[in-house]
């Protein structure tokens, strides 16, 4: 218990004193996960919507595979990406290993199935509701996707935040592909792993509390931004 209390105090002190190392790794944590989130959403939101409204041959199989991919163990993803990006691997020439880009790649692979699955579920329900109307109005495929995405935006936001949550707390994959290099690829989660490994529990806890606060802060921020519309409009 004493460790936890000390950790809390250290956390507050680190934040108040604007510890430069803390700021550096926090910013990097956000850069990596938010970067991965943007890329993942660009893939997953249209994909999930498309799966909800379009009938094609292997649709059921695709949906099952997508749902199954949510269970991909992050550390395995990290290992596979590492092997692919290693100099001795197929994409070694790109020199991406041990860079933040590699970390973004690994996180995109991990969170895209999650966002796509939730999107698909939400869009499927909405499509069932709008189906007759949108067909009657002769909407094109593109117009349908636009309408569903806009009207379902609250659920899509939840999907995105779920992806963010999964990414910001992830440590296995980004440790392997990033290498936890000081001033280059160290982020909050890998720093916590490092300090724990050194036995410096109070610093590790302090970083942990900062991470929790950051994750909650981003969630609150996004919810607040989306509520600047009038009451009842959403």
């Amino acid at each position: 218990m004493n460790d936890i209390f000390e950790g809390l105090v250290s956390a507050v002190w680190l934040v108040i004193s604007l510890d430069p190392e803390l700021i550096e790794i926090s910013v990097r944590s956000l850069q990596v996960t938010l970067g991965a989130l943007v890329v993942s959403c660009a893939i997953a939101l249209p994909l999930g919507t498309f799966l909800a409204i379009r009938r094609f041959r292997y649709r059921r199989l695709t949906i099952s595979v997508l749902n199954a991919l949510m269970g991909l163990p992050p550390v395995v993803v990290g290992l596979v990406v590492y092997i692919l990006l290693s100099r001795s691997g197929p994409f070694g020439v790109m020199g991406l290993l041990f860079t933040p880009t590699a970390m973004v790649i690994a996180q995109v692979i991990i969170i895209t199935p999650l966002i796509a699955s939730i999107t698909h579920q939400a869009m499927r329900e909405l499509w069932a509701e709008y189906h007759d109307l949108l067909i009657s109005l002769n909407t094109s495929q593109r117009q349908r996707i636009k309408t569903l995405v806009w009207d379902g935006r609250r659920n899509l936001l939840t999907a995105a935040l779920a992806g963010f949550g999964r990414g910001i707390g992830e440590v296995g994959a980004i440790m392997i592909v990033g290498g936890n290099i000081d001033h280059a690829t160290r982020v909050l989660t890998t720093a916590i792993a490092l300090e724990t490994g050194k036995g410096d529990f109070s610093l590790a806890l302090a970083l942990g509390f900062v991470l929790i606060a950051l994750a909650i802060g981003v969630n609150i921020c996004i919810h607040w931004l989306s509520r600047t519309e009038q009451e009842g409009r959403w």
Binding site: Y130, L137, T139, D151, G232
Partner: protein
């Protein structure tokens, strides 16, 4: 302006999973006015309506407009029995069909305000459409269907779930629309409503047209025993 009418159905059959829903159906719709389709539940009224509107696949026969189908699609409107509201404000619901067309912003606003007035929803513009009462929703659905000034308007039992006051409002809007030149084709199971609105009528039974004709003759002097029974209020199995 070229009209999309007449609408011709030739020997149309609709089968689903081996069951015959409607068929054979042959009829022509043209001119002005309100056509009411009556018949007991399960007689195929809704299927017929959907076939006419082009949202139900036919198994045999032909459905033809005076112009190609793709063009005819743009000049029709459809109102469902249970109104489908977009999860948006009343104003946005009205704007939606016009935005699909890529209409200019000020024109959209003008028409939206106009129809909000006509449907009596001008004080509810910023409310979420899902929060309206049943009658208000159906008025909105009707306004939304008419806002594109379609030549033909289909309605599937629009007042089935509404109270008397709302029904009266809807009927007033329909007669106005008819007077403004919209051809209306509507199903109902309410004989009183049919009598009030119809210029001509069709009686559907067991998936086929049993009898049809101008309103006065149809309601005053029905020819078939089934239609007479239907007017009496008998159950026709």
């Amino acid at each position: 302006m070229t009209t999309i009418l007449p609408l011709t159905l030739q020997d149309v059959w609709v089968r689903r999973r081996g069951k015959r829903l409607i068929g054979p159906v042959s009829t022509t719709l043209s001119g002005d006015g309100i056509t009411i389709i009556v018949g007991p539940n399960g007689s195929g009224k809704t299927t017929l309506l959907k076939v006419m509107h082009g949202v139900a696949r036919i198994s045999d026969g032909a459905v033809n407009w005076a112009v190609p189908h793709s063009e005819a699609q743009h000049h029709q409107g459809y109102v469902f029995q249970t109104p489908i509201m977009l999860r948006r404000s009343v104003a946005d619901n009205l704007r939606y069909p016009l935005q699909l067309r890529g209409m200019k912003k000020d024109e959209i606003e003008r028409r939206m305000a106009d129809w909000a007035q006509k449907t009596g929803l001008q004080d509810h513009l910023e409310i979420s459409a899902t929060r309206l009462s049943g009658g208000e929703k159906q008025r909105l659905a009707l306004g939304r269907a008419l806002i594109r000034r379609p030549e033909v308007l289909f309605l599937d039992e629009p007042c089935a779930n509404l109270d008397g006051a709302s029904t009266r409002d809807i009927e007033a809007l329909l007669t106005e629309a008819r007077d403004a030149g919209t051809r209306i084709i509507m199903t109902t199971h309410n004989i009183g409503q049919a009598k009030r609105l119809a210029d001509d009528a069709i009686f559907m039974l067991h998936g086929a047209i049993k009898e049809n004709g101008l309103a006065e003759a149809f309601f005053e002097t029905p020819q078939s025993t089934e239609l007479k029974a239907f007017f009496r209020g008998d159950i026709i199995a």
